[in-house]
Every structure is written in structure tokens, then in C-alpha cells.
């Protein structure tokens, strides 16, 4: 029987990952720079997301597909 650890490595199907997986910069738990709110936005009382601390990320779905090799 093949080693399950190799299940997704060599046979990994490219392009089968959801778009959320490919989000370019936002990384959960990371620090990100965001534009400073304009005076108009602040006046509109738009909730400010604190990006200087952890917790700015949202749950995301990740789909992985791979071919079973060996037997």
C-alpha cells in the first residue's frame, strides 16, 4: 500500500485549489497594511478593522484534489 504521506505530493492536481487559497497577500495571523480611512469614511462611521493585531482573517475553504497512486 502506498504511503499516505505521499498522497498529495507528486500527484497534486494544479489548478484545483479554490480562489480563496490563492488570495495574494492576506495571510491569517499575519500583519497587513491597509489604506488609512478617509475623513469621509470616518465620518460615515465605518467600523475600523484593527489590522495591527491578529484576527483580521476570515475562515476560508480549501479544496485539495489528488490522485491515489500505488496500491
Amino acid at each position: 500500500m502506498s504511503n499516505p504521506r505521499h498522497l498529495f505530493s507528486s500527484e497534486y492536481t494544479k489548478g484545483s485549489v479554490t480562489s480563496s487559497e490563492e488570495a495574494p497577500t492576506l495571510q491569517t495571523g499575519g500583519f497587513v497594511k491597509v489604506p488609512i480611512l478617509t475623513a469621509e469614511q470616518q465620518a460615515a462611521n465605518i467600523p475600523r478593522i484593527d489590522t495591527t493585531r491578529y484576527g483580521t482573517g476570515k475562515p476560508r475553504r480549501i479544496i485539495i484534489r489528488g490522485r491515489i497512486s500505488g496500491g
Binding site: T13, P47, D50, R53, Y54, G57, R60, I62, I64, I68
Partner: protein
């Protein structure tokens, strides 16, 4: 303003009130004609809800310092119950699950619905505002979204993904409110006639 105390140092075992980041929930694993598909949701933060005495006994069962192995496997746990923590600002906007394609109800934090949530008077939610030295924004636990992860998986990611753990009393507060939420009894709406 912080409404909880936390400890930064983790125990030698998983503990109730532990907060971990980047925890995966397996939605499904499917196999079709030799291709296997795994769908999982990665939650930025979760808090452990499993009873601490169970976790303590499981930890002792696995990490018994004595050479003598346990006489049986009675204390073994297979999974740990956790609930996600969502960024409170995202919750108020109803956008905390936007990346999953879900639109949740918005909650006006300046009105009663938001104020009662932040005072932990809404059974479904638990509001956690962390001390300033903890790098986690104010968060909301949604008890409705609890799920389980395998003990082995959580043990594996624990050294790297541990954030902090709720101090006593705050941990018990969370646990008691979750238990009360889970034990609620849904009553039928008797004003609506049955068909």
C-alpha cells in the same frame, strides 16, 4: 476594554480555554475513480470547549511519566470540541463568513442587539476582548458553529499555533455558557397551527 484575563504559557497538554490559530475543520473527504478530494475550512482562531478534566485525564493517559503503561484505554479522547472565534467587527457587519460565500445577519453594535452581545447576554455568542498585550482583536465565539478536531491533529499543531489560554473563571464562564446554549430546549411555536 479587555473583559478577560489570559495566560500566555501553554500547559503540557491541551487545556480547556486554549486558543489556537489556523485550525482546520474537515468538511468531507471523497474518492471518485482514483481521485481523492478533501474539502476543509481553515478557521483563523478557535477556543477549546472540551471539559478540562477529560483533557487532563487524556493527557495523563498519554504522557504517563511512570514506566508502567495504563492498565486500559478508558481515558483516551478521540476528538476535542472547539468553537471558532470571529473578528467582532466582521460579526457586527455580518461578513465574518464572507470568504465561504455566506452572508450572516448584521448586528448593530450601538443598539441593544450589539450591546447585549458584548455584555454576554445573548446565549449564542460569547464576546472576548483580549488584553492589549495579546495580539488578538476583540472576538466573538459563535456557539452554533462548534466542531470537533482530532486530538492527534491538535497536538501536532499545538506548539506552533497556540496563542494563549483563558484564565480560570473566564474559562469557566465560557464553558458554562456553552453548556447552557447546547442544553437549551427548542419549544414549538404553538401559535402556528400544525398541518
Amino acid at each position: 476594554v479587555a473583559n478577560i484575563n489570559v495566560k500566555k504559557k501553554r500547559l503540557k497538554r491541551i487545556s480547556q480555554g486554549d486558543i489556537f490559530r489556523n485550525v482546520e475543520c474537515i468538511e468531507y473527504v471523497a474518492e471518485k475513480r482514483g481521485t481523492i478530494e478533501v474539502s476543509k475550512i481553515e478557521f483563523p482562531f478557535v477556543v477549546v470547549l472540551t471539559q478540562d478534566c477529560d483533557l487532563e485525564q487524556d493527557g495523563r493517559y498519554k504522557n504517563n511519566p511512570a514506566a508502567k503503561p495504563p492498565s486500559n484505554d478508558d481515558k483516551k479522547l478521540f476528538s476535542v470540541l472547539v468553537a471558532p472565534l470571529y473578528n467582532a467587527e466582521h460579526v457586527f457587519l455580518g461578513e465574518h463568513l464572507a470568504d465561504l460565500g455566506l452572508k450572516m445577519a448584521s448586528i448593530n453594535k450601538s443598539k441593544t442587539e450589539g450591546k447585549t452581545l458584548m455584555q454576554n447576554e445573548r446565549p449564542r455568542y460569547h464576546f472576548l476582548d483580549f488584553p492589549t498585550d495579546i495580539p488578538v482583536v476583540a472576538s466573538v465565539t459563535d456557539f452554533k458553529h462548534y466542531f470537533s478536531v482530532s486530538v492527534a491533529y491538535l497536538e501536532k499543531i499545538r506548539p506552533k499555533n497556540f496563542v494563549c489560554r483563558l484564565s480560570e473563571l473566564y474559562r469557566e464562564d465560557l464553558s458554562q455558557r456553552f453548556a447552557a446554549y447546547l442544553a437549551r430546549i427548542g419549544l414549538p411555536d404553538i401559535s402556528v397551527p400544525h398541518k
